[in-house]
């Protein structure tokens, strides 16, 4: 396994290499898992170091990998054969606990597995430990975890971004080449940008949410991190598809995302939405984006200025809709059937003690906000209004894509990773999702990939496409990755 920053040959990433070697008998899942565990020790992934994992049972993984490898010898090698995949701690797994980075679920082991985890196993992957996250995915820095903050492997005094910071760090530290995260407002793309890796959020409905612990159901997505575009493409291909257990999942056929590198991009139109390039944008970030646009022009793509006029309303809409849904989704954590129970005066006392001690400050704040905006007298002014503006935001995208734009390209984040503890004002923290929340609100696919460094720290560029146009998005991502070459990480 290579060190962070060092890259395998383009188009075929590390996951593909592991798969090929495993299929050829040159390595085994068990060996790969041992290498990953050893890499985790080497980079100090533990609680005292980068604090990447909430739970990682090495002995179990070694045993499990051996069994998995045996089972897979006589079939067509799965897309992720022998590939360890780290799993965000809000995705239900049968062996490791699923705590969502929260005290309220400390030690809770799910009695069923998420559909995405079953699909990973079907593809020959080895689910590899549970990664740290902002509690219930509420945060943009992985500082809001009951199990302590995760540090950015690229610069340990910096945050890895969030909420899927542990998964991003696991990939960036070279422990795994693929990891699952989840997105509600940018929680895969933003940490991908901060950690210098690839992060993909598919179209809403493309990947089953069954087993993803809900934060805001209409915005939640399972997303994939990859060391490179190909790793992410394979990961997404493995977990995508219709699931009868998720009523919002779709039966539209899944594309062969890992084959998108062979698709020509010449003649494609890339939109440059002006709202994502405000005058206040850090000139260094703008410069990296301009360089990326230049590469795309050289690839024969046409760059077109476009406008998404309701972009500025996205953060207010998001911070009404997401907390509203969260306040309802998190009502089930009441100490009655599972998880933490703290005694109090009678039933109500038990509820209040359990929930106030089980939830951290940011989760409490969002439950309060969400309850407030749904409460009698405020629903129309906040929730209903926000859901209408959300339609306007989605319509902005539809209009642009219908006008012949194939993909949009923007910075993923306005800045590179900030220092741990640097942002204490909640709303300032919310603004780090400013370029990513729109895709969640509209349900369109989007991804972040490294486009260079700013002040020595990685920064990501974001591609967005129309609903179910992941193939277009990946074809451009592959081409851009190839064109940027070493420039992506320098």
């Amino acid at each position: 396994m290579s060190a962070p920053g060092e890259r395998a040959p383009l188009d075929t990433g590390r996951a593909a290499a592991i798969r090929a070697a495993t299929a050829a008998g040159a390595t085994s899942a068990e060996t790969t898992v041992k290498q990953a565990l050893s890499r985790a020790r080497e980079v100090k992934a533990g609680r005292d170091g980068l604090n990447i994992f909430v739970s990682l049972d090495g002995e179990y993984l070694k045993e499990h990998a051996a069994t998995a490898a045996q089972q897979l010898t006589d079939t067509e090698p799965g897309l992720l054969l022998g590939v360890p995949v780290a799993i965000k701690d809000n995705i239900a797994t049968l062996h490791h606990p699923t705590t969502c980075g929260s005290r309220i679920l400390a030690g809770y082991v799910s009695p069923y597995a998420a559909t995405v985890v079953s699909k990973l196993c079907d593809a020959g992957a080895v689910p590899f430990g549970k990664t740290n996250m902002d509690e219930f995915a509420m945060g943009s820095s992985t500082e809001n975890s009951a199990y302590g903050p995760t540090r950015n492997p690229v610069a340990p005094d910096r945050v890895p971004g969030g909420s899927s910071g542990g998964s991003a760090a696991a990939v960036a530290a070279g422990i795994v080449s693929v990891a699952l995260g989840s997105e509600t407002g940018g929680s895969v793309r933003q940490p991908a940008s901060f950690c210098g890796i690839v992060g993909v959020k598919p179209t809403y409905g493309r990947v089953s949410r069954f087993g993803l612990v809900a934060f805001a159901s209409s915005l939640d997505h399972v997303g994939v991190f990859g060391a490179q575009v190909d790793d992410a493409a394979r990961g997404l291909r493995a977990i995508a598809g219709h699931d009868p257990l998720d009523s919002t999942s779709t039966s539209i056929p899944v594309g062969e995302y890992h084959l998108a590198h062979a698709r020509p991009v010449k003649g494609m139109v890339v939109g440059r939405p002006r709202e994502y390039f405000p005058d206040s944008l850090d000139p260094a970030v703008r410069a990296r984006c301009d360089a990326a646009f230049e590469h795309m022009r050289e690839l024969g793509m046409q760059v077109r200025d476009v406008s998404l006029p309701h972009t500025a309303l996205a953060i207010p809409v998001y911070y009404i809709v997401a907390p509203a849904e969260a306040s309802s989704n998190l009502a089930r954590f009441d100490g009655a059937r599972y998880g933490l129970r703290v005694a109090g005066a009678g039933l109500t006392g038990m509820y209040e003690a359990t929930r106030s001690q089980g939830f951290g400050a940011e989760v409490t704040r969002r439950i309060m906000l969400g309850t407030y905006v749904l409460s009698a007298g405020y629903y129309d002014a906040y929730y209903r209004k926000a859901q209408r503006v959300r339609t306007l935001i989605a319509d902005d995208f539809s209009r642009v894509f219908q006008s012949g734009v194939d993909v949009l390209f923007t910075p993923t984040t306005p800045t590179p990773a900030f220092a741990l503890g640097a942002i204490s004002d909640p709303y300032e923290m919310y603004l780090s999702d400013i370029f990513t929340v729109t895709a969640n609100l509209a349900g369109i696919p989007a991804m972040s990939q490294p486009i260079g460094r700013v002040g020595g720290l990685p920064i990501g560029g974001q591609l967005m496409a129309a609903h179910f146009e992941e193939m277009k998005m990946f074809s451009v991502a592959y081409a851009l990755e190839r064109a940027l070459g070493a420039g992506a990480s320098s």
Binding site: T203, A331, D334, Y338, R355
Partner: protein, 102 residues
Amino acid sequence: MAVTIDDVRHIAALARLGLTDERAASLVNEMNSILGHMDVLSKADTSGVQEAIGVGAGGLPVRDDGGQPIPLARSLDAFAPALKDGFFIVPRLSTHETPGES
């Protein structure tokens, strides 16, 4: 529409969140500060605009009646805080000090 301490208390009661006086007071400020940023929405013209529901989905799929329930790999006592004779046990609600069923 400024949030008051009474609002915070009411909302916390609805959400079953026990708050210290200090935390409640601080939430008044935090919520007002955050909600202040939401006021911009009231200026957006949404006349005739549908609310976003069922994002990206084409209608509600239904399943056949019956079939196999999703199995539990562990029994309830593996995760229940209190289980007796198969029942989940919780403290009795104060409005049900007299016996009965609901």
